[in-house]
């Protein structure tokens, strides 16, 4: 059970059950779909930009607890951040779920994202955790073709 709890931490279960910023954004400046063809996880990320700042961010879609919680936590972390900060968080999160950053040693920097530290021990689930982040990156880069994790 202990290793399962390291994957399904309270923050993740909470964000899965009550996803934050879970809504379509009518007046979004950018939106992009992302999906994982193997699992069927499928989300749309919406962004409202104010100069170089993410003024608002939301998402819709469905998938497993890891993918949904990841999208939800991401939205709370990035709201009000600059584009450069968002890119920095992308790298942090990526390194975390790839097992290249010890959550215990980077707690301050990671904040809520540290809850995804257990994912690296479940290689089959890394794509679930990173789907929303890759989609966000695509949206910031003004991609128009849906992002996939394959």
């Amino acid at each position: 059970m202990s290793d399962l709890r390291s994957l399904y931490q309270e923050i993740i279960l909470d964000h899965n059950k009550n996803p934050r910023n879970y809504r379509a954004m009518e007046d979004a400046d950018r939106s992009l779909e992302g999906y994982n063809p193997l699992c069927g996880d499928h989300y749309t990320i919406y962004l409202k930009l104010d100069g170089g700042v993410i003024a608002d961010i939301s998402f819709t879609g469905s998938g497993c607890a890891i993918s949904k919680a990841s999208a939800s936590v991401m939205s709370t972390v990035l709201k009000g951040k600059t584009r450069e900060e968002a890119e920095r968080f992308f790298v942090l999160f990526h390194d975390l779920v790839m097992g290249q950053r010890d959550p215990a040693k980077n707690l301050e920097e990671l904040g809520k994202m540290a809850a995804f530290g257990g994912v690296s021990e479940f290689p089959a689930r890394v794509k679930c955790a990173s789907l929303a982040w890759h989609t966000l990156k695509g949206a910031l880069e003004e991609k128009t073709i849906a992002v996939t994790t394959e």
Binding site: L4, L13, G40
Partner: protein, 417 residues
């Protein structure tokens, strides 16, 4: 008689614990727990005799077939052709030359689509498949539609996951050039009434291909009784190795079909002016085939033939009943696919928990199930779910393993509160 008593009676006729000893992998542990392998519709495990047959070929008579005059080549050729005869008997084909070795069901369906069906297809013709099909019995036909301007028609399902036969009859039109139908659904386990459906197609002179990949591990198949033009299956789902399977086709049709691939072994003579193709089945077996795979498949057929089939079918049926009752008794579980006739497939969803999360938690308990769309996305769409959890049974599974699955599902509910 109670279910327990029923199971006990079946146990007398069918000794599952003895069967388990034939499969070396079943004694391994996963995550420190005994492996509970419930992903048999994806691929089955292999008995020691299959592994031995492959090893023996490489260790004692590895040589290319149909070529050399040396002892090893002759021995390999004889062994290869004897497996063809064994498969002929196994599925009840009229002649051994009706058995064509391919990589598996997928390649077999592509072969029939491109050699048999393509020449018959004109713009506006129709190809009839069912809403239960695996992607491998959808996409080759879509490719053919693109090539020929033919249209794909689909037999609908009812809420139990059974094909609607009245609709089927109505979909057999003057434009239907082929019916391609799964014998057993990989996603739901539904056993289709293929004999009756083939007869209905034949009344309108329409040929039928049956995808038997999920049927051969569970049911006794008699191709002459079914009377399908083509019956296709894979080795790896029936306890044989991967990369080998068969198209069993009516000789007269195979003879009129053009080759699928060109190369060595499929020719009688080659010159730059004219090449003469070989006879069937060799015409369809270009290049050096998967010889070791054929040896393994032969051993798998031998293994299945030695099993008391009536006892096995009764055992698998009881086990499915047991699993269905145990799993559906869990609060919040919904079973998808409740056909009256099913093989041992239990597809289900757990309320408010995504199948992949269920799969991860079960994996930590050493339980292997498939989660996802099972290469049958249209089936998922029909039932309005993105994915299911699928526990699929084989001849070595036990009621104790079903109990482990149930405990695992309770753990899922514990984690997700």
């Amino acid at each position: 008689m109670s279910l327990e008593a029923h199971l006990e009676t079946t146990r007398v006729a069918y000794d599952v614990h003895r069967v388990r000893k034939d499969f070396p992998i079943l004694s391994r542990k996963v995550q420190g727990k005994p492996l509970v392998y419930l992903d048999n519709a994806a691929t089955s495990q292999k008995p020691a005799s299959v592994l031995k047959a492959i090893r023996e070929y490489y260790e004692s008579y590895n040589a290319n077939i149909h070529r050399g005059v040396h002892a090893l080549s002759i021995q390999a050729t004889e062994a290869y052709e004897s497996v063809r005869r064994r498969i002929q008997e196994f599925v009840g084909a009229r002649e051994a030359r009706e058995v064509v070795f391919v990589r598996g069901t997928t390649e077999g369906i592509n072969l029939v689509a491109q050699t048999f069906a393509r020449r018959r297809m004109r713009e506006g013709d129709e190809i009839l498949i069912s809403g239960l099909e695996h992607h491998s019995n959808i996409v080759p036909w879509q490719i053919l539609c693109e090539q020929s301007g033919a249209k794909l028609r689909v037999i609908p399902l009812n809420d139990a996951g059974e094909l609607m036969l009245d609709e089927y009859e109505a979909l057999l039109t003057q434009r239907t050039r082929i019916v391609a139908l799964g014998h057993v659904s990989n996603a739901l386990g539904t056993i289709n009434p293929v004999k009756q459906m083939i007869a209905a197609a034949h009344r309108k002179d329409i040929p039928v291909l049956i995808d038997g990949a999920q049927a051969v591990p569970h049911l006794r198949v008699d191709i002459q009784d079914l009377d399908a033009e083509f019956y296709v299956f894979s080795g790896h789902k029936m306890f044989g190795p991967t990369g080998i399977g068969c198209v069993v086709g009516k000789a007269a049709l195979l003879e009129e079909m053009p080759p699928y691939q060109g190369g060595g072994d499929m020719i009688k003579s080659v010159s730059f002016e004219k090449t003469v193709y070989n006879d069937i089945p060799y015409k369809f077996e270009a290049g050096t085939p998967n010889i070791a795979g054929v040896m393994g498949l032969g051993a798998a057929v031998e293994y299945l033939t030695a099993v008391d089939h009536l006892a096995l079918e009764a055992y698998e049926h009881e086990l499915l009943e047991y699993a269905t009752q145990a799993v559906s008794a869990i609060d919040g579980v919904r079973i998808i696919g409740t056909a009256a006739k099913k093989t041992g497939v239990l597809s289900f969803i757990v309320n408010d928990v995504h199948p992949h999360d269920v799969g991860t938690i079960l994996d930590r308990e050493g339980i292997a199930v498939r989660t996802g769309h099972h290469c049958a996305q249209p089936v998922m769409q029909r039932f309005g779910v993105p994915a299911t959890i699928r526990a699929s049974l084989a001849l070595y599974n036990t009621s104790g393993e079903i109990d482990a699955l149930v405990r695992g599902l309770h753990k899922v509910k514990e984690v997700f509160g």
